[in-house]
C-alpha cells in the first residue's frame, strides 16, 4: 500500500512515543494478557479438535481392510470392514469444479452489472436480492433442486447427450432422471453465486475513481474502463471471493444429499446418476452408523479438511504472487 504513506500529517511527536513505551498502564497489561490468553486458548482448542479427529480417524483407518485412498466401497459395518474415499474425493472435486466454472463468470458479470452498468435505482435492490439469496438455508436449495430443478434438467441432459455426447463426459448411458453430479454442480453454482457476487461487487466498488476517470478522460469506452482498471484491480478480490464460494461448494451437505443419487462408482459420464461427495456421504451414513462407522466417517471428513486446506493455500499463494502486479499498487 504505497498510497497510504503519502500523508500530509506530521510524524507522531517523538517525546510522546518515547514516553508511551516504558510506561505500561495496568489496562494495557490486562488487555495484553487477555488477548494473548484468548489467542493461546484458540490454538489449544483447535489442537484438541484436530487431535481428537486424527485419533478417531486413526482408529478407523488402522482397521480398514481396503485401501483408504483407492477402495471403491464404503462398508465399515461389514466383516471385514472395507472403506475408501476415492469416489467421494472424485465427486467432491468434480461437482465443485462444475460449480466454479458456472458460478464465477456469472457472478463477475452480475457484480459488474450492479457496480458499473445498472442505474442506481436498480442496483441497490438487486444487490439486496443477491444478499438475500445467501441467507436461504441449503436444505431449501436441496428441496427446490430435487422437486423443481431435476425434472427441468432432464431435457437439458437429453440435449447434451444428443449433441455433446462425443465429448465422453456428456455421454449418457441410461435414461435415469437428472440426479447426477452435473445437476449437483449446477445447484452448487446457484448456491455459491451470492457470496461470490457480493464480495466481487464490494471489490469493484473499491476501484479508485481516479483510475476510471483517467481512463474515461483518455477516451476509453465503458467496457475498456472495466477491462483496463476495474478487472485488474479486482483480480485478487475475485480470486478470494471464488475461494470463499469454493469452500462452500466443497462442504455442501444437505442440498447434495437430497439431489444426488449416490453410488460408489467413479464414472466420467457426468450425466449418469452416481458418485458422491464427502459431506453427502457423512450426512447419509451417520445416523445408522455404529461407533466404528462414525470413526470412518470422521476419517473421510479429515480428508475433506485437507483438500480444503490445500485449495485455500493455493489460492493464497496465487493472490500473494499477483499482489505486486495488481491494480491495488498502481
Amino acid at each position: 500500500m504505497a498510497t497510504t504513506t503519502q500523508t500530509d500529517a506530521p510524524p507522531p511527536p517523538g517525546p510522546a512515543a518515547a514516553a508511551a513505551k516504558p510506561k505500561a498502564r495496568p489496562g494495557d497489561r490486562v488487555f495484553l494478557g487477555l488477548s494473548r490468553g484468548s489467542g493461546i486458548a484458540l490454538l489449544m482448542i483447535m489442537a484438541a479438535i484436530a487431535g481428537f479427529l486424527s485419533y478417531r480417524a486413526f482408529l478407523a483407518i488402522s482397521k480398514d481392510q481396503g485401501n483408504f485412498l483407492t477402495t471403491f466401497e464404503w462398508n465399515p459395518a461389514g466383516d471385514p470392514p472395507v472403506f475408501g474415499i476415492a469416489v467421494l474425493a472424485f465427486g467432491t472435486i468434480v461437482s465443485s469444479v462444475i460449480a466454479m466454472a458456472i458460478a464465477v463468470p456469472v457472478a463477475v458479470g452480475i457484480a459488474l452489472f450492479i457496480s458499473h452498468y445498472a442505474p442506481r435505482k436498480l442496483a441497490a435492490p438487486l444487490a439486496y436480492i443477491v444478499d438475500l439469496l445467501a441467507a436461504v438455508p441449503s436444505i431449501i436449495y436441496g428441496l427446490w433442486g430435487a422437486i423443481f430443478l431435476v425434472p427441468y434438467l432432464d431435457g437439458l441432459n437429453q440435449w447434451l447427450d444428443e449433441y455433446m455426447g462425443w465429448t465422453y463426459i456428456f455421454d449418457k448411458a441410461g435414461d435415469g432422471p437428472a440426479r447426477n453430479l452435473f445437476t449437483v454442480g449446477i445447484l452448487l453454482a446457484i448456491m455459491i453465486l451470492p457470496i461470490i457476487t457480493n464480495v466481487t461487487r464490494e471489490v469493484f466498488l473499491q476501484v479508485p475513481k481516479m483510475h476510471e476517470e483517467a481512463a474515461l478522460a483518455l477516451g476509453a469506452t465503458r467496457w475498456e474502463v472495466i477491462r483496463m482498471s476495474v478487472l485488474p484491480f479486482g483480480r485478487s478480490g475475485i480470486i478470494s471471493a471464488s475461494m470463499l464460494g469454493l469452500g462452500r461448494a466443497l462442504g455442501e451437505t444437505m442440498a447434495v444429499a437430497v439431489v444426488l443419487s449416490p453410488s460408489f462408482l467413479i464414472s466420467g459420464h457426468l450425466l449418469d446418476p452416481g458418485g458422491g461427495t464427502f459431506a453427502q456421504n457423512i450426512a447419509s451414513k451417520f445416523n445408522e452408523a455404529n461407533e466404528f462407522g462414525r470413526d470412518a466417517l470422521i476419517a473421510s471428513g479429515l480428508v475433506l479438511f485437507v483438500i480444503t486446506l490445500l485449495v485455500n493455500g493455493a489460492a493464497r499463494w496465487i493472490i500473494a504472487r499477483r499482489k505486486e502486479y495488481s491494480g491495488a499498487n498502481a
Binding site: 461389514g78 438475500l132 441467507a135 425434472p151 440426479r179 445416523n287 445408522e288 461407533e291
Partner: protein, 378 residues
C-alpha cells in the same frame, strides 16, 4: 458507504427472518405422513385404560426412524393418560439409538435389528446386573411401489424382484415379468430401480428377504444396511424413494407401506407360492410375522423372520422393530415409567392403533410373550 452498511444490516435482518421462517417451516417437515394419526389418537384416548402405576418424570428413548410414527401415536396417548410422565423418543436411527443405550443415555432404544452379540456385551456395562434384551413391538410391511402408467396390478416374485433390483432385468416388457402377468400389456420402458442412499433397516430387511427367497439371484451381503447391488438409483430416506418413484415413469422402489398409501403409489403383489399373490397390507404382514421363530434366549425375544413363508395371505417383506431395554438393572428412577409405557405399547389397545398408521400389529403369540416379559423388567 453509510448507505451500504445500512443496507447490509437490513439484509441481515431480513436474512435472519428468512432463516427463522425456514426453520419454522422445516420443523413440521418430518416424515410423519400418517394422515389419520390425529383421529386414531382421539379414538383410543376416549376409551383409555392405560395403567400408569407410579410412573413419573422423563422417559428418554432414541432409535429407529421406522417406528417413529407409531411412537408418536403411543407417546401422545400415553401422556394424555399419565400426566406425570414425559416420554421423549428421538428418531435418530437404530445405530444411534443403540449407541445411546449402551452409553446409558436413554432408558430404551428402538431398533430395526436385534442387538449383535458384541452389543449385548457392551450393554452389560449399563445394565450392571443384567443385559440388553430385544422386545419386538412394531411390525410393518415393506411395500414395493412402482410407477408404470396403464399397469395397476403388477405381480412379481422374489427371483424377478432380485433381478430387477440387481439391474439384470432392464425393461418392463421383459419375458420374466410378462410371464408373471399374463394378459397385462407391459410397456417397453426402462426400469428405474430406486434404493435408499442412507443406511437403513428397511434396506437390510429387503436384503434378507431377497437373499432368502431368491438365493440364486441375489448374491449380495444380506446383513448390510446400505445398498449392495451396483446400478440403480438412490434417494435419501423412505420419503425420498417414495417421491422419486412417484415422479419417475418406469420407476420401482421400496418403502414402508404408509408412504405408498400417503402418496397413492401402486404396490406390487408378491407371488410367494401361496394360492394367490399377496398384497402388501398390515394384516398380511402380521400373518407373515406370525411365522417367525424366537431366536433369543431367556427374556430376549429377538425374532428370526421366515421370509420364505408360503402361507396364504402372508406378505413376506416385513420389518420388525424392537424396543431394547435392560432385563435387570434399569435405572430406578425411570423403571416405573418404562414398564408402564411398554405395558401400554404391547397391550391390545396399544397394538390396535398401529394399523391406522400403516404398521402391522404383533401376532397374538408374540405379543403374549412380550406381555409376560415387560412386568418382569427390574
Amino acid at each position: 458507504m453509510k448507505l451500504q452498511r445500512k443496507n447490509g444490516l437490513r439484509a441481515t435482518a431480513l436474512g435472519a427472518l428468512a432463516v427463522s421462517g425456514a426453520l419454522v417451516l422445516t420443523a413440521c417437515g418430518s416424515d410423519d405422513n400418517t394422515g389419520g394419526a390425529g383421529s386414531a389418537g382421539e379414538k383410543t384416548t376416549a376409551a383409555s385404560n392405560i395403567t400408569c402405576d407410579d410412573a413419573k418424570g422423563q422417559l428418554l428413548a432414541a432409535g429407529s426412524t421406522a417406528q417413529k410414527n407409531a411412537m408418536d401415536l403411543w407417546v401422545k396417548n400415553f401422556q394424555a393418560a399419565c400426566s406425570g410422565v414425559e416420554v421423549n423418543y428421538q428418531a435418530i436411527g437404530s445405530g444411534g439409538g443403540i449407541t445411546k443405550f449402551t452409553q446409558g443415555q436413554v432408558a430404551f432404544a428402538g431398533s430395526d435389528s436385534a442387538l449383535k452379540p458384541e452389543e449385548v456385551e457392551e450393554s452389560k456395562k449399563v445394565c450392571k446386573t443384567g443385559q440388553g434384551i430385544n422386545l419386538p413391538m412394531v411390525g410393518g410391511p415393506v411395500a414395493i411401489g412402482y410407477n408404470l402408467s396403464g399397469v395397476d396390478n403388477l405381480i412379481l416374485d422374489a427371483p424377478t424382484l432380485a433381478k430387477i433390483f440387481d439391474t439384470k432385468i432392464k425393461k418392463w416388457n421383459d419375458p420374466a415379468i410378462a410371464k408373471l402377468n399374463p394378459g397385462v400389456s407391459l410397456p417397453g420402458t426402462t426400469i428405474q430401480a430406486f434404493h435408499r442412499s442412507d443406511e437403513s433397516g428397511t434396506t437390510q430387511n429387503l436384503h434378507k428377504y431377497l437373499s432368502e427367497a431368491a438365493p440364486a439371484e441375489w448374491k449380495h451381503d444380506p446383513k448390510s444396511k446400505s445398498w449392495e447391488a451396483p446400478g440403480g438409483q438412490a434417494a435419501s430416506g423412505s420419503s425420498g424413494v417414495a417421491s422419486s418413484v412417484k415422479g419417475t415413469e418406469g420407476a420401482i422402489g421400496y418403502f414402508e407401506l404408509s408412504y405408498a398409501t400417503a402418496q397413492k403409489i401402486s404396490t406390487v403383489k408378491l407371488d410367494t407360492g401361496a394360492s394367490a399373490p399377496v398384497e402388501a397390507t398390515t394384516e398380511n404382514a402380521s400373518k407373515a410375522i406370525a411365522a417367525a421363530k424366537v431366536k433369543g434366549t431367556g427374556n430376549d425375544l429377538a425374532l428370526s423372520l421366515d421370509y420364505k413363508t408360503q402361507a396364504d395371505g402372508a406378505y413376506p417383506i416385513i420389518l420388525v422393530t424392537y424396543e431394547i431395554a435392560c432385563d435387570k438393572g434399569n435405572k430406578a428412577e425411570t423403571l416405573p415409567a418404562l414398564k408402564a409405557f411398554l405395558n401400554y405399547t404391547v397391550s391390545d389397545e396399544g397394538q390396535k392403533v398401529l394399523s391406522d398408521a400403516g404398521y402391522a400389529p404383533l401376532p397374538t403369540e408374540i405379543a403374549a410373550k412380550v406381555r409376560e416379559i415387560v412386568p418382569t423388567l427390574s
